[in-house]
């Protein structure tokens, strides 16, 4: 190598070395990773980022209702470092490794693929990492972690709760069909729903399972098949543009009149679709979030503050982000109460394990995955347009232990073996 090119290479490495110079330790630095670009940004990523910024600001101002009235985390202000989650797990692992030296805590990840890839790296890096939204139960069912927590419930209860709701409302249901996006989320959601229905109504007939490509946007052929299937119930876990496409293309063709349609993760779409969602659609919000949130000071605070700033109600992604930040705050302050000094990471981890804290969606219990995975009550409702406004009526609530497996039991096996406590 010529000296000049060697120098160029060394300069490049030097540049890399100089980059993550750790900054002063004054505020507590929280890395926030959420989709800022791509299809998941609109329905989840941006609402979550907005909630993070709002929550951090109001926590620092000390205007969050009890039990979070103390400023920042235990009196120390918090500062957010926001990153884009786009680019796939490989990119995210690279960015996570760069983020770790610069922050004290990482909160993030919407995609289950990213969560699965990040969890072992967090463990290797010994960095407290809170997964706030991703759904796959595999994270704590296939491995156990010390440094990784998830403050949002898993995807298991979404589909178990809609199945319970369906069986209660229409006890004589005899056939189901599905339309789900062909990727891990859609496949898992459908499998959970199908298995739960088989458990609750043994011998129920599955007419068809349509699996269009992710972000296909056009579902004419699938809607035709569903309309001809004769199924009483149609299940879909779609989100984002695909969900809007299904509603906009399916409603005029009578899909929602002819069948009972279940949208297990439909809540984020109501702010955009509004009254275009036909009456009688069964809707889930992946937990007691958004319109399903219990009427508490904390829920009212988030709804008012968020609506006031962003002129749109907070959806479940916003709720879950705020919940994650409040969960860390609860653990931090619990760890701090034993002494006056700032607690170290191990103390925060010990405090967060098996913790029960109050989120904007109600109580959160870190009950699964050896105290690292949250469970919450589930809520399901039905849409109804009243006076030109979309309302959620007939809301049913299910206690957390009824829609989540006991600790140490895998979700799939639990659903198949009868949903026993």
């Amino acid at each position: 190598m010529r000296p000049s090119s060697l120098r160029a290479v060394l300069a490049a490495f030097g540049l890399l070395l100089a980059m993550p110079a750790s900054l002063a330790q004054q505020p507590i630095k929280v890395g926030i990773v959420t989709f800022l670009s791509g299809p998941a940004a609109g329905p989840f990523g941006i609402p979550a980022r907005n909630a993070a910024e709002l929550t951090a600001e109001l926590l620092n101002a000390g205007t969050v209702p009890a039990p979070y009235t103390q400023k920042g985390f235990g009196g120390t202000p918090i500062e957010l470092v926001i990153f884009d989650e786009a680019g796939g797990p490989q990119t995210q692992v690279a960015e996570y490794r760069n983020l770790v030296p610069r922050v004290d805590i990482v909160i993030g990840y919407i995609s289950s693929g990213d969560c699965l890839a990040i969890a072992p790296v967090a463990e290797e890096q010994n960095k407290l990492t809170i997964l706030f939204d991703c759904g796959t139960p595999r994270i704590f069912e296939d491995a156990s972690y010390k440094y990784v927590f998830r403050t949002g419930p898993t995807g298991t209860m979404d589909n178990v709760s809609v199945a319970l709701y369906l069986v209660k409302r229409t006890p004589n249901v005899k056939s189901i069909a599905g339309i789900n996006q062909n990727y891990a989320w859609g496949q898992d959601s459908w499998a959970d729903f199908e298995n739960a229905m088989q458990t609750l109504k043994p011998g129920i007939e599955v007419k068809t399972s349509q699996m269009p490509k992710l972000f296909a946007g056009q579902f004419s052929a699938e809607i035709t098949t569903l309309l001809g299937s004769g199924a009483e119930v149609i299940h879909s876990s779609m989100w984002g543009g695909d969900l809007e496409g299904l509603v906009v293309q399916g409603a005029p063709r009578g899909l929602f009149e002819k069948h009972k349609v279940v949208l297990s993760a439909g809540e984020p779409a109501i702010n955009r679709l509004g009254t275009r969602i036909p009456d009688g659609t069964i809707l889930g919000a992946r937990g007691p979030f958004g319109p399903f949130a219990p009427d508490t000071d904390l829920a009212r605070w988030l709804k008012t503050a968020y609506q006031g700033r962003y002129h749109i109600p907070p959806n479940y992604a916003s709720f879950k982000m705020t919940q994650a930040i409040l969960g860390v705050k609860a653990a931090y302050e619990k760890a701090k109460s034993s002494g006056n000094e700032a607690p170290d990471q191990d103390k925060i981890i010990a405090a967060l394990e098996n913790l029960t804290f109050e989120g904007p969606g109600g109580p959160v219990k870190m009950a699964l995955g050896k105290g690292h995975q949250a469970t919450m009550d589930a809520a399901v409702g039905t849409t109804k347009v009243e006076n030109g406004q979309l309302k959620i009526v007939d809301i049913e609530r299910y206690s957390a232990d009824k829609v989540n497996p006991p600790d140490g039991v895998k979700s799939e096996a639990w659903i198949k073996s009868g949903l026993k406590k």
Binding site: M19, L36, F83, A86, P89, S112, L116, A117, V121, R138
Partner: protein
């Protein structure tokens, strides 16, 4: 013997890096090596005048081959994983090459893209492999020697460096030798090459095979670094990234892909750190600037300095 000196210098530099630098830099260096090897393979193919928009196919095959060894067969040896990644990719390239070597230009590019997207589709549909979520892999030994946690990535980086340097030297020899010259002949005038009694089909086939095997090696190396595989490795954006790096570096030098991969990784990191909302656009603008001002890649800067010196 200049090549050997450069090889030894790179190896020493990378070994020092592996032993001394912080973990995150070790990881970056591994990704840079992995991508560099894939792009060097792309350069071999470009010698014949062909651009593949589907190197993600072999990158993905390499990654999944390594991961499946750990996941399905409980083989946790990094060296076996790397070799298996390259071998699996070479095997598929040997089959698909029979078809693809008959095509040129846009037809070759589109067909290679199509094959990578077929694998992507298959992986997304296979729930047993975790669909889009993918799955984790763990390597705990190297040539049978057990590694202590914490040092394993440093050892993998040294191993990756050895593999990359050996491959780079082989490519260097290839370019200098009979095959390399034949490849440029095919690019410039295929008809004339056949009149001279050589087979353009065979030249393209062999280069395709080499590029495939190298992409497989790169994929396995990346999988070891990341510790997780998912179908994104075979997606067209991954393939596009390799072409991006190739254009960024230029095709004149064996070192260019590695330097370009480093710059690319650094650029992306800096962009997502300082412009989290605009990092894709920053990369796009960098690409545009390269095409407009340095159409032969960043390596022209080094060449210019050399000539003026």
């Amino acid at each position: 013997m200049k090549a050997a000196a450069v090889a030894i210098a790179s190896l020493v530099a990378l070994t020092a890096l592996a032993l001394l630098s912080p973990q995150w830099l070790v990881f970056m260096a591994m990704l840079m090596l992995a991508k560099g090897v894939v792009v060097l393979g792309l350069l071999v193919l470009m010698r014949t005048g062909l651009v593949s928009f589907g190197q993600g196919l072999y990158f993905g095959i390499g990654a999944y081959a390594a991961a499946l060894l750990s996941h399905g067969l409980h083989v946790a040896d990094a060296a076996v994983m790397l070799l298996a990644g390259a071998a699996a990719a070479a095997l598929i390239a040997a089959l698909l090459g029979l078809l693809l070597a008959g095509y040129r230009d846009i037809f070759f590019a589109m067909l290679s893209l199509a094959f990578s997207m077929i694998l992507y589709g298959l992986l997304v549909k296979s729930a047993a492999l975790g669909s889009t979520d993918g799955f984790n892999l763990h390597a705990r030994t190297f040539f049978g020697v057990a590694l202590a946690p914490g040092v394993e990535r440093r050892v993998f980086l040294i191993a990756g460096a050895v593999f990359a340097v050996v491959v780079a030297l082989l490519v260097h020899r290839l370019f200098r030798g009979h095959w390399g010259r034949l490849a440029t002949g095919v690019r410039d005038n295929e008809l004339r090459v056949s009149y001279l009694g050589a087979s353009p089909y065979r030249a393209v086939y062999v280069n395709y095979l080499i590029a495939g095997a190298m992409a497989g090696l790169g994929g396995a190396l990346a999988a070891l670094a990341v510790g997780h595989v998912d179908p994104e490795t075979t997606y067209w954006t991954t393939s596009g990234e390799f072409v991006f790096i190739a254009i960024l570096g230029g095709t004149q030098s064996i070192l260019a892909p590695f330097v370009a991969a480093t710059i690319f990784e650094a650029l992306r990191t800096v962009a997502s750190q300082y412009a989290p909302n605009l990092w894709q656009m920053s990369l796009g603008l960098a690409m545009l600037a390269i095409i407009m001002f340095l159409p032969a890649g960043l390596w022209t800067l080094a060449e210019r300095r050399r000539r003026s010196a």
